[in-house]
Symmetry: C2
Subunit: 719 residues, 2 copies
């Protein structure tokens, strides 16, 4: 199927169905752009009312076109699109780009038409861009296709861009000249009925002119597919993405805008992280970062050397480096000594290296070369304030010459110069990125480093543990039989235990002797709770006794409990007691699983107890997760420091905590109908450091569960 | 003394001591800039080796100048500066600007020379800019002074800027043409030996051409003075500031750069907040924000209407609005109805208002006017992607025309157009700010709103409570007599109590009967702790018993304690016990006072217990604090939700918690030598909601305390 994409992106011939002479219509602008950008193939304007358009012979119908057509661009009113598609089929055209609007984006009626359109296109074995899209661009010299209705012609480069917003694509093409970046290909997916972001990711994986991929997304249509592809591609080609609709209001706007299910930013954010996609939040940030990737190798570490002729910007760069998670490189003594040999005595050779305002051009050259040679330096930031006669273009040229000779380390230039410098530099070929402000450059560097870390990241495994699936299934079946989608705490804990998760030990005891026996098995201290179908408010009658430290105390408390019940005439209400392990520990974590209607199961881990809502110190990942995903997830919460024993407690058994999450992952893979699962708290034992599930709550999707288990041989419930 | 500043900023005559014909020297560039910017006063180049410079008569010495001189600009080698100052005095010149470097910034020797220079200048009744500065600029038509060595001439405007980094000033002047903002005055303070940022704040307070003030600071030389001035001025003229040296490494670079005490970002950040200064972190952000202040009234609320011809940027703007703390305005039904009457049926009239790509110019006009009339809208953001024939300059002109007629609401334009539009717009007079990206505009709007909130903020009071100062003094004196700067927990608690802070009740008891008596007074539950000079590890021998609920239990525990001691042969070691109130409550806060060597006492409040270090959920303010400062401080921590009872606990008595901080503030005002004070935890009682100091720790500066109390009549210790 990707072969047809070649016909769309690199067509040998194009028909524009709806080509126009009027340059204020979309059909007119597209034709004009194709001609002006000097498309190398054959071009057939189709228009029933014209013999000639823009000097080209026009055809009444696509069927009149003499030769083969690789790509048909359709720019006619919506209701005429269907006939056009039929005619394209008659003409054996497989590549279709529907610019026409009036489909899913306008509501239900449009969505139905779009579905019909899709079915038609599929039945003909075609592939379709759009509908409601802004067109496609391929800047390769042997193609030169600008089939968009942008105001400005594209700039050639090594970056492919797919936009879910046509207008945003237009805006970016407007800005491209100033952005100092060029496109290999541009693709507006429009309503993405057929070709989606995921399709283009796969297509660009081996596209030779594309070295990095930019995405603007309002929704991720197929998260699992996206993750699989992105994970693979991002190790070779950086993927930088805007996913808008972060806020609830933004998501609602996105949803009404694209007609697609949006929102769920927690899930989207997790998915992008797991897939190695570099997320940015604005168009300017996207292009600042893209510039760095176009011009820099990824650094082998995070130690940045800052070179400046001006103290203030040097300090601001230092602040930005520290705040971005990068580090100020510790310059080698020998390098410092060398720099002292030529720099002004008032200069500072300690990073940030302040050569002071009077530094001439050759101080830049010598110092950059010295920093390249210094193995304590992973990346170099050259700040220049043009004054006292220093010429910014000379500094830029000198820096680029050194980069040419030493391409191995990223060098970025912060040129605090007027716009005329940038207009000049945008006209020549460059091999380093130029930024006007230190903070922008530092952010770009930090993303380069994130890419390095991603390329170094191990693949990760999805371990498969030996568990008692049958037991878990039995418990769920029993609940379903009783018409419940919500499992009881005990049922939930039993399922967790069946999946090898360390749960708080407990046992039922019908009388005091049993209670003593169970408590001795569990080991003191224990908690005793009454079980009674008649008493609902257990704490009110003192039915929960914590901190029982010995057999003697247990017997006394049991007796006292009976006395209390008797005094209220409730002696018959006692069915027995639960004897439960009492886990001592101040560190309460939470872990669990939530379900996003689009992304599926989300694994969650973080700080539990009374702080969950207030601090929201929780991390999420989309299931399935690997051991590496889980490790990163656990390390990403602030409470990780507590796990390490920041306050003098014994360190938590972090491996066991990670395993807990991986076992939960296996559980919800086995039972995909689990809707919600909460372990809160997962208490870190002060004795062993283990994470122990003290409370558990599982809810299933009743209908899905019934369907899934209905077809299975259900073992009888095991409690 | 401010009169002399008039002579410096608006001189009728200038002498340049060290003027040069060479345009690659500072003396040459300054002269060139003064001439090229068409200075309106008299100009006297001073150079012993020239008769004429740049067509002006040159003088061998300042003493040869025939007329009066308001301002002498000194650009000669450091060691010649002193004689020049003497001569200036002879000539009765009061305004001095020392460009020459080689003073404090180069180390100890330079600092000593700078001190001498300052003394000389002061003894002559002069005021001095610099040394080691970049010069001054005044763009007023009747002055036209550009006494800087920037590469480009200044742009006139309503903004005054003081820069602590000369080179940064140079960079900004380079960028000014693109920044779409102009200066009323520019002032490079250099080493700020005499004239400091604070001086300029005061000077600009009533300067008629200045409507807003920008600051670049690496250190705040006089925090108390700065706060006092900024607080007053910022209500009339917005103050936007970069304070660099935020990171430890940045602070260290700032320190070596400016030779001044820097760092302490926590204190600086607090001070700026308390003073109504709008803090930004980069030069571009500073100018983006300054553009908004130059062109917009402050909004009366935070409800933003977003108007766009392009969905994607509208969604991104919505995300940014929500994330910045602003709100998406709920458009009135009647406004929506009106918009529906002319907008395309595919348009969305729900905020963000998406007029869709085909919207013509008059849709912009009508909709902006409708949003101005809608009282649910406080600010308007107009996003335009120029395509399909819409002309950005026409949209800009139309928007500005409406703004002219309706200046009451802030309107900002997001024009996603190529650089040529910006070059054009920068040439004409504008009344709205233009940004290329939605996020930038939203950030600027959020700062406008912050300014509105600041102007509405009540002044606040520093309440004075009736306290037992003598008792506190006595306790401290006793400790000093014993040679201790660290007070014991009991001493600390007693001092807090003397200042009316709710502390955990406790009492000493020498025997079991006393213990019972005290426990009955305090009320159960209580904690019992042994006091013994011989036993250091009290917990090891079970010397701390918590949760004693009754007299009977107290007697039993006391006996058990004696038995334990006896069994170890320690029965004689018991001096008695402390009976302490047991405060029940899960919410543990921390509050206290730290001392910054430059900013003085910092009040602190936040989440305490085991989370202090991990979550750093603490807020700081520089003392003295008002009741409003404290209220904001308490509300700014995330744990505020816990205080409100987010988890179903009773709400904390927040007024009492605030009063606790205010009383601490009074305590450290009374005893300025207190170095550190910690209440950790300040436990929120589940019974009363009060914050109760369960543990306290006070440390004084021994020498300062001795000096302060030595001169006082010390009452005898009251415990």
């Amino acid at each position: 199927m990707l072969k047809i994409l070649d016909q769309i992106m690199s067509p040998k011939s194009i028909a524009i169905i709806g080509a126009s002479t009027k340059t204020d219509t979309i059909g007119g602008i597209i034709l004009k752009n194709i001609i002006e950008y000097k498309y190398t193939g054959k071009l057939y304007p189709i228009n029933p009312k014209a013999d000639q358009i823009s000097g080209l012979k026009a055809y009444k119908s696509i069927l009149d076109v003499p030769g083969d057509v690789d790509l048909a661009i359709i720019v006619i009113p919506r209701d005429a699109v269907f006939t056009a598609i039929d005619q394209c089929n008659e003409k054996d055209i497989k590549g279709i780009c529907v610019i026409s609007a009036g489909f899913k984006e306008i509501g239900k009626e449009g969505a139905e038409l779009e579905q019909k359109l899709l079915e038609k296109v599929r039945s003909y074995g075609m592939r379709m861009v759009g509908p409601n899209c802004f067109g496609v661009i391929n800047t390769a010299d042997d193609i030169r296709l600008d089939a968009s209705f942008a105001e400005t012609l594209p700039v050639k480069g090594k970056t492919a861009f797919v936009s879910q917003s046509g207008a945003l694509g237009a805006a970016i093409l407007n800005l491209l000249e100033d952005l100092k970046i060029g496109f290999s290909q541009f693709f507006s997916i429009g309503n993405a009925a057929d070709i989606k972001t995921e399709t283009m990711l796969e297509y660009w994986k081996d596209e030779p002119n594309t070295e990095q991929i930019l995405l603007y997304m309002e929704a991720i249509s197929n998260p699992q597919e996206f993750a699989k592809l992105a994970k693979e591609i991002s190790k070779k080609k950086p993927i930088v993405a805007i996913k808008s609709g972060r806020s609830a209001a933004g998501a609602s706007a996105a949803s009404s805008h694209t007609g697609s299910l949006a929102g769920a930013d927690i899930a989207a954010d997790a998915l992008l992280k797991q897939s190695g996609v570099i997320r940015v939040t604005s168009v300017n940030e996207m292009f600042e970062v893209a510039q760095a990737f176009e011009n820099c190798p990824v650094p082998k570490g995070k130690r940045v050397a800052i070179l400046t002729n001006s103290g203030g910007p040097g300090i601001m760069a230092t602040d930005a480096v520290c705040e971005s998670g990068l580090e100020i490189a510790p310059i080698k003594e020998s390098t410092k000594e060398y720099m002292r040999s030529y720099l002004s005595s008032a200069a500072s050779v300690k990073n940030p290296i302040d050569m002071i305002a009077s530094a001439p051009l050759d101080h830049y050259e010598k110092t950059i070369e010295a920093l390249i040679a210094d193995e304590n330096v992973d990346a170099i930031m050259v700040i220049c304030v043009p004054f006292l006669g220093i010429n910014p273009m000379q500094v830029a040229q000198a820096t680029m010459k050194i980069k040419d000779a030493h391409p191995e380390k990223p060098i970025i230039s912060i040129m605090m110069a007027e716009g005329s410098f940038y207009r000049e530099i945008n006209k020549i070929e460059t091999n380093i990125p130029f930024y006007q402000y230190p903070e922008t450059g530092v952010n770009a560097l930090s993303k380069l480093f994130a890419q390095y870390e991603w390329t170094q990241r191990p693949e990760g495994k999805e371990p498969s543990y030996s568990v008692n699936k049958a037991k878990a299934m039995g418990i769920i079946s029993n609940a379903l039989k009783e018409g419940r989608s919500q499992l009881t705490t005990l049922e939930s804990i039993d399922i967790l235990e069946a999946y090898g998760i360390r749960t708080c030990k407990y046992a039922f005891a019908a009388n005091v002797e049993d209670a003593v026996k169970e408590a001795n098995k569990i080991d003191y201290p224990v908690v005793m709770k009454i079980t009674s179908t008649k008493i609902s408010h257990k704490t009110e009658i003192g039915g929960v006794i914590v901190g029982i430290n010995s057999e003697e105390q247990l017997r006394n408390e049991y007796k006292a409990l009976l006395d209390r019940l008797k005094s209220k005439g409730l002696e018959d209400a006692l069915d027995g007691v639960i004897i439960q392990e009492m886990v001592k520990g101040n560190r309460e974590m939470v872990c669990g699983v939530a379900t996003d209607p689009q992304y599926g199961h989300l694994m969650m881990f973080g700080l539990g107890g009374i702080f969950v809502e207030t601090f929201k110190d929780v991390a999420f990942r989309v299931n399935p997760v690997t051991d590496i995903d889980v490790k990163e997830m656990v390390q990403s919460v602030k409470a990780y420091k507590l796990l390490q024993g920041a306050r003098g407690e014994i360190p938590a058994n972090i491996e066991q905590v990670e395993e807990t999450i991986l076992r939960l992952s296996q559980l919800v893979k086995d039972f995909s109908f689990i809707k919600e699962l909460d372990i809160n708290p997962l208490k870190i034992s002060d004795k062993t450091g283990e994470g122990i599930a003290v409370d558990g709550r599982i809810e299933v999707n009743f209908e899905q569960a019934k369907q899934a288990l209905g077809c299975c041989q259900i073992s009888s419930g095991s409690r």
